[in-house]
Structures are given as structure tokens and as C-alpha cells.
């Protein structure tokens, strides 16, 4: 036990004395939350929109007010014709246009079909689709309210997004960020810290000594386990303070699952470090082999359903994929172990396999 504690102390000193790295590791979670929250949002606000209304009347006025009142839109102008639209779209001052026909009020009164043209800037297909959705929703409601109910049967489809009713992208990315940050703190840092000892020759000193390889590894990763938990809490606090991301489920369960994922990541780091001869190789392996899959193949940025099927199959071996289901489940749906036990079990299984792989490589010592 004493060699182990001495080792933990040493690792902690390494970590504390490398001020720059430590600062980066502590700031990373907060900065990531802010970047993803403010810059990389997939929900859209303040869409500059033009309403083309050749013959203004009570009904169109009502529609314009609805558009202006929504925080999704910023009503840039009401134009009598579509003449200006092309240039406005090109320079980007307008991203959406609602082109109304003539005599809207009268046509509504007669119960005619109303041909409304909706133009959307599609240069970014994702936001384009979202903008289209918002505008269609406003139009539908307006049309429904403007058409007298007495005219006959009306079917109103009430849609509601469950678990994230306002479709806040922040709610979706925070769970992904937890996985992302833990991959950096746990996997990357462990891999680097073990390969550093190989490079400086101190690993040889340790392997020649009576300390067991398991104690070396346990001593090395302990400070990073603590740092991992600190990172999770930082992400959660930042997400809550800035974006009011809810935590529907149990914090304790979330921390326990995070603990499991921290160990998974550490094990990945150990496996990398047993194979990589230098810090540089370890870093590249961790970036290319861990961070990219965590970003791309976990459902963090791209929905898994939209991936081509070989990549979908590949995503099954990415631990972050399972962790993401768990974190989203706990944070957004308030799910507990009864629903998440399968994912948890898969993660635990992966962790055990990785730990066995890592320790087997270590016990055969250097060559």
C-alpha cells in the first residue's frame, strides 16, 4: 500500500507542477461548454425574414404580427413584391421569405386554397431545414386560426417534442461533451503520462524495482480519476448556469456512470500507452483513434441513424456511443438503471476487456 500511496503523491505532484497543462485541463470543460453552447448551435434564432405582401389586409397583418412576435424570426421588411429578394438573399441580409398571394382575406373567407411560397436560404442544409420547420409551423397555426371552425372538419395536429420540448441544442450536446472531455482528461492524459516515463527511462527504473505493474498503473491513474470527476462536475455546472440544461434523473447515478466511463477511458489510455513508444505517437493515437470516433461515431455531432451502415456497425465498438445514451437518458429523460442497464453492462464489459488487454501487455515488462 505504501509504494502505491507514494506513487499517487508523485503523480499528483507531476500534475500540479505542470501548471499550463493543468490550467488547460480545468478550463477545457468550461470553454467547451461555452463554445458548443454559443457557437455550434443547431437551433436557430432571429432568422432575418421578409414577408412579401402585395395586398395588405387584416389577415396578412395578423400573420406579420405573429412572425414579428416570435423570437425565432426578425422581421426585416414587408415588401410589396419579390423584386428585391434575390439580391437580399445573396448578400445574406435575408435568409427566409414568405411570399403571400393577393387578396388573402377574401380567399380565406371563401375557403379557397391558399398558395403561399416559402423561400429559405439552403446554403446550410441543417439550419435550412430547421428554419423551414419554424416558418411552416407559424403558417399552419395562423391558417388554422384564420379559417372559421364552422366551415367544417378541421384536423389539428398537435406536435410536441418530448424531453427537449423547445428543441434546445444545448440539451443535446452537453451529454456528448461529458464524453468528449473525459476522453481527453482520462484517455489522452494517461497515455501521455505513461509514455513519458518510457521516454525518460523512469519506467525502466520502476520495472526493475519490486513495485508491481498493477500498482504503477493504479498509482498513475488515480489523480486522473479525481480530475475526471472534477471535469464532469464542471461541465454540468457550466451547462446549468449558462444554458439551464436540466438534470432530470439522479445525480448520483450520473456520477456513478461517469465513474465507469472514466475507467473505460483510462483503460483505453493504458492500452494505447503499452503500444506507443513515445508521447507523440500516444497523442496521435489518442486523437485519431479515440477523439475522432468519440466526436463522429457516438451520435454526439451526427445522429447515428444518418451514418452509412458500415459506420453504424463500427459505432458499436465506440464506448462513447453507449455512454451517450446513458447520459442523455439520465439528464434529459430522467431514466434510471432499469432502462439503462444494457448500455451500462456493455460499457462495463468493454472496460474489463480493455483492462485485461492493458495489464497483460504491461506484465510482460519491457520486451
Amino acid at each position: 500500500m505504501r509504494p502505491f500511496l507514494g506513487f499517487v503523491r508523485k503523480e499528483t505532484l507531476h500534475l500540479l507542477r505542470d501548471r499550463q497543462t493543468l490550467a488547460i485541463l480545468i478550463l477545457l470543460p468550461v470553454v467547451q461548454v461555452l463554445i458548443f453552447g454559443f457557437a455550434v448551435r443547431t437551433d436557430v434564432r432571429e432568422i432575418p425574414i421578409v414577408v412579401v405582401d402585395p395586398t395588405p389586409d387584416v389577415a396578412t397583418l395578423e400573420l406579420r404580427e405573429r412572425v414579428a412576435a416570435s423570437e425565432r424570426f426578425r422581421l426585416v421588411a414587408v415588401a410589396p413584391s419579390t423584386r428585391e429578394l434575390d439580391s437580399q438573399f445573396q448578400e445574406g441580409s435575408v435568409r427566409q421569405a414568405l411570399v403571400l398571394p393577393r387578396d388573402v382575406e377574401r380567399r380565406l373567407g371563401r375557403g379557397d386554397t391558399l398558395a403561399v411560397q416559402l423561400l429559405t436560404d439552403g446554403s446550410d442544409p441543417n439550419t435550412g431545414g430547421i428554419m423551414q420547420g419554424y416558418a411552416t409551423a407559424v403558417l399552419r397555426r395562423w391558417h388554422a386560426d384564420a379559417t372559421p371552425a364552422a366551415r367544417g372538419l378541421r384536423i389539428e395536429v398537435a406536435t410536441r417534442m418530448r424531453f427537449n420540448p423547445t428543441l434546445e441544442s444545448a440539451h443535446l450536446f452537453v451529454p456528448g461533451l461529458v464524453a468528449f472531455v473525459l476522453t481527453i482528461v482520462s484517455a489522452l492524459m494517461t497515455a501521455i503520462s505513461i509514455t513519458r516515463e518510457k521516454e525518460t527511462g523512469t519506467m525502466e527504473m520502476l520495472l526493475v524495482s519490486p513495485i508491481r505493474p498493477a500498482a504503477i498503473v493504479a498509482g498513475k491513474v488515480t489523480p486522473y480519476i479525481v480530475l475526471g470527476f472534477v471535469s464532469v462536475l464542471l461541465v454540468l455546472v457550466a451547462a446549468r448556469a449558462v444554458f439551464e440544461v436540466p438534470l432530470q434523473g439522479s445525480l448520483l447515478l450520473l456520477l456513478a456512470e461517469s465513474g465507469l466511463y472514466i475507467v473505460t477511458s483510462l483503460a483505453l489510455g493504458i492500452v494505447i500507452s503499452t503500444r506507443a513508444p513515445t508521447q507523440r505517437t500516444a497523442m496521435l493515437a489518442a486523437l485519431a483513434g479515440l477523439l475522432m470516433p468519440t466526436l463522429m461515431l457516438s451520435g454526439f455531432i451526427f445522429p447515428l441513424e444518418s451514418l452509412p451502415s458500415p459506420l453504424q456497425a463500427l459505432s458499436h465498438i465506440v464506448p462513447a456511443r453507449w455512454f451517450l445514451v446513458v447520459v442523455r437518458g439520465i439528464m434529459l429523460k430522467g431514466a434510471g438503471l432499469p432502462t439503462l442497464w444494457q448500455e451500462t453492462l456493455i460499457l462495463a464489459g468493454m472496460t474489463v476487456l480493455l483492462l485485461i488487454a492493458g495489464s497483460r501487455r504491461l506484465t510482460i515488462r519491457l520486451d
Binding site: 505504501r2 509504494p3 500511496l5 507514494g6 506513487f7 503523491r9 508523485k10 505532484l13 507531476h14 507542477r17 505542470d18 525518460t200 527511462g201 523512469t202 525502466e204 527504473m205 520502476l206 520495472l207 526493475v208 524495482s209 519490486p210 513495485i211 515488462r365 519491457l366 520486451d367
Partner: protein, 253 residues
């Protein structure tokens, strides 16, 4: 007992018998046999790639022998590695210590790894620091102390748990002649206290300081004995001459 430990038998400190290591079809160490007595300073000489380091790595348990056997401090290196590890010290050619820890922290860490008590660690830290004149630098980071001090510190750390045998892998590379001489004084002190020393070196003047030397050529021991015996055996005036004749048989001397 958790630490220290001299040889358990009164036999040789190192006893290698037909020790062999092959990498694929290449034989790096080819059936070498030698013994090192208690308190003896034994020099391991040879050109680069002659197999010195491979032989040493087998003796300290970093590499398994392909065939043959060896005991260190009376324990078999292959089957009793754990016992061997408790009884040996090792210093690599890079004087590997933790650069971002202080002198004192390094000593404490390795003391803990070898299971020394806090009192022993404190006492031996004081001894080491005064022996190499590093008292005032105890709180400095190893990164910041001069190379010569680092070398002596690495040696003292290797001796911290009073091992039966200490292995030094080219321990004097890159330091000035005065520091090298000072270092050899430390080696003699260790020998006088009963620790056997196996040292590899490129410097033939250093070989003269050893009680006995062996010269390895192509994985085998080409000559072994006291420096004067080795010189006499080959009818050479200096070890330089011996070395050249053995390692480059065609070269005119």
C-alpha cells in the same frame, strides 16, 4: 523483511551460466558464463552492439533468457524475479530520475517503492545529501541541478535500499573527467561496503579501475580477468590495444 537483503547464500553475487538471448535468428548474447563475487567491481566492456546491454537486461529481469540461466544474489533471474528485484539496484545511462520532482522527493519516492520506513528514508536521505554535497539543493527540482550531481544522485538512489548488486549501464556518459573520477570513488565505496557492482563502460581508463573485466565481442566473452591479466594474456601494453585487437581482429596495432 520488506527491503534490503544481501545475498541469501555465501555464493557469488552474480552467477551466469551459458546465458543466451536470441532475437529471431540473431543471437545477441551467445552462451556467456561468468561470476561476480561479493563486493567486486566488475567491468563489462565491448563495442556497441556487442551484447552488454542485452546481458544486463537479462540479469535485472527486463528480458527473459532464451536459454541458459543466471542467479543474482542467489536467486534465479527467470523464476525468482521478484526476489531478485528486491536485492538489486539499477542506474540507466540516462540517470533517469523524475525531473519535475525535487531531489528529496525523488529519494522519498524510491525509498517508498523499495518499502523503506519513513525513518530509514529520512536518515538515508541525510546521508546521501551530505555524501554528495547536495544538502542545499535538496528542495531543488532535479531538472535544475547540474548533470554531474544528477549522476551521483541517480547512483545513490540505486543504492538507497542497500542492494546486494548494483547494475550501472554506462554511468559516466557526458560528464567531465573530474566528475567521472568522483563517481568512481562512489563506486569503490559501494564495493567496500559489500555491494557488488556490474558496470558497463566505453571508457577503457575506467576499465582499469575495475577488479575484473570481461570484454564481449559478438555476444560472447572474448577475454575476462583482472585488467593486468587481460593485458598480459594478449601480450598488450594497454587495454586500448586489447580492445582493438579483440573487436577489430584485422586492424594493425
Amino acid at each position: 523483511m520488506a527491503h534490503g537483503g544481501r545475498s541469501r547464500v555465501s555464493g557469488p553475487a552474480i552467477d551466469a551460466r551459458a546465458l543466451t538471448r536470441r532475437f529471431g535468428t540473431f543471437t545477441a548474447v551467445d552462451g556467456i558464463s561468468f561470476q561476480v563475487e561479493r563486493g567486486e567491481v566488475f567491468g563489462f566492456l565491448g563495442a556497441n552492439g556487442a551484447g552488454k546491454t542485452t546481458a544486463m537486461r537479462m540479469l535485472i529481469g527486463l528480458l527473459a533468457p532464451s536459454s541458459g540461466s543466471a542467479t543474482v544474489a542467489g536467486y534465479d533471474v527467470a523464476s525468482q524475479a521478484e526476489q531478485v528485484r528486491r536485492r538489486i539496484g539499477y542506474m540507466s545511462q540516462r540517470f533517469s530520475l523524475y525531473e519535475d520532482l525535487t531531489v528529496r522527493e525523488n529519494i522519498t519516492l524510491f525509498g517508498g517503492i523499495y518499502g523503506l520506513s519513513n525513518r530509514d528514508i529520512a536518515e538515508r536521505t541525510g546521508q546521501i545529501l551530505s555524501r554528495i554535497g547536495l544538502q542545499r539543493a535538496a528542495r531543488e527540482l532535479v531538472r535544475e541541478i547540474p548533470l554531474g550531481w544528477k549522476q551521483q544522485l541517480a547512483f545513490c538512489v540505486a543504492l538507497l535500499h542497500r542492494p546486494a548488486v548494483v547494475f550501472l549501464d554506462e554511468p559516466t556518459g557526458g560528464v567531465d573527467p573530474i566528475t567521472r573520477r568522483r563517481f568512481w570513488e562512489l563506486i569503490y565505496e559501494a564495493g567496500a561496503e559489500g555491494t557488488s557492482v556490474l558496470v558497463t563502460t566505453h571508457y577503457l581508463d575506467e576499465a582499469e579501475y575495475c577488479n575484473r573485466i570481461s570484454i564481449m565481442v559478438d555476444g560472447a566473452i572474448a577475454a575476462m580477468g583482472t585488467p593486468s591479466d587481460v593485458r598480459r594474456g594478449l601480450g598488450a601494453a594497454t587495454l586500448d590495444e586489447v580492445f582493438l585487437r579483440l573487436t577489430r581482429p584485422g586492424a594493425a596495432v
